[in-house]
Symmetry: C2
Subunit: 140 residues, 2 copies
DNA sequence: TTTCTAATTTGCAACCATTGCTAATTAGCA
DNA sequence: TGCTAATTAGCAATGGTTGCAAATTAGAAA
C-alpha cells in the first residue's frame, strides 16, 4: 500500500474525498504488518478518534482493497484480515496466539488433479507455532 | 472417510449412538466429492428425510470432523465446506461456478520469511476457472 | 421384551462478522 | 462562501454457526 500522502493524492484524483477518518486509517494501515481485522483496527482507531464508526472502518478497508492498496485475506479464523503488503506472498498463522506473518515461496509447486482448471491465483496458508509461541516458556 | 458400515461400528465403539439421521449423513458424505456446505447437505438430506434439522447436520459434520473422518475447509466463499477426502491434498475453487475440486502437489514449496515459525500444516487454495466454466460457451 | 438412562435431536434464540439503508454531515470545487 | 456529491454514523438486517433446554430415542441391562 502506498503512503498516506500518495493515497491522499490518489483518492482526490479518483474523485474521492479525503476525510479525517480516512487519513487516520491510511496511517494506521501503512507499514502495518499485524494483519488486523476490521474490528481490531477499529479499536486502535477509536483511541485516536473517539466516535469513528466501525462501519466507516469496514467501508474504507473495502475501498482500499478494491483499489488494490490492501489485500484481504481469510485465514480461517473467523474474521477477514487486511494486509498492506500487496506483493505476491502467502501467510503463516500461529495456532497458539493467532498471529499472522507474511511468507514467500520460491516457486509454485507442481500440480496434479487439476483437469482443465485454469489457475488464476494461489494462496497458501501455513499453520503451526510462531517463534515466540514455540520458544520454551520463559518467566514473565 | 470410512464407509457407513465402518462408521456405524466406530460410533458404537466410541459409545455414540447410530441414529437414522447419522446413517443418512454417513451415506450422503461417503464418496461425496462435491465439497458441500452444511446447508447444501441439509437440502439433500431433507429430501430423503423430511424434518431432519439443520442443527443435526451441523452437529454430525462437526463430530465427523473431530473424529478425523472429514476435513473442514474454508475456501473464502462464506460457508465451510466438508470433504470426506482426508488425505493430504489441496483445493481449486472455480470463481465462476463456485465448484471445489481436490488437487495434489508433488512437493511442498520452499519457504522464505518463516523466521522461527514451526509449520504443522499447509493448505493451498487455487482460484480460477474450472474446465466447464472455461470451455467456450455451448448452446444449452 | 420391557425398562432405563445417557445420548441425540429439534427448534429457537443468540452470536459474530459483515453489509444495506438512510438521514445528517462535510470535503472540496466553483 | 455556497453548493452538492461523497461520506459518515447508526442501526437494522443478513448469513453462517453455535448454545441451550425440552422432548425423544438408541441400545445396554434386566
Amino acid at each position: 500500500m502506498r503512503s498516506p500522502e500518495e493515497l491522499t493524492t490518489a483518492f482526490r484524483a479518483a474523485g474521492l474525498k479525503v476525510t479525517p477518518q480516512r487519513q487516520l486509517l491510511f496511517r494506521l494501515m501503512h507499514n502495518n504488518s499485524a494483519h488486523p481485522t476490521a474490528d481490531s483496527l477499529f479499536a486502535v482507531a477509536s483511541q485516536q478518534m473517539p466516535g469513528i464508526s466501525l462501519r466507516t472502518v469496514y467501508q474504507t478497508l473495502t475501498d482500499l482493497t478494491e483499489m488494490g492498496e490492501l489485500q484481504a485475506i481469510e485465514v480461517g479464523a473467523g474474521a477477514m484480515r487486511f494486509d498492506p503488503n500487496v506483493s505476491d506472498h502467502h501467510h503463516a498463522v500461529c495456532e497458539v496466539c493467532g498471529a499472522v506473518q507474511d511468507v514467500y515461496v520460491n516457486e509454485a509447486p507442481e500440480l496434479r488433479g487439476l483437469d482443465g482448471f485454469a489457475v488464476a491465483d494461489a494462496h497458501i496458508v501455513y499453520r503451526g507455532r510462531c517463534a515466540s509461541c514455540s520458544a520454551p516458556a520463559k518467566r514473565r
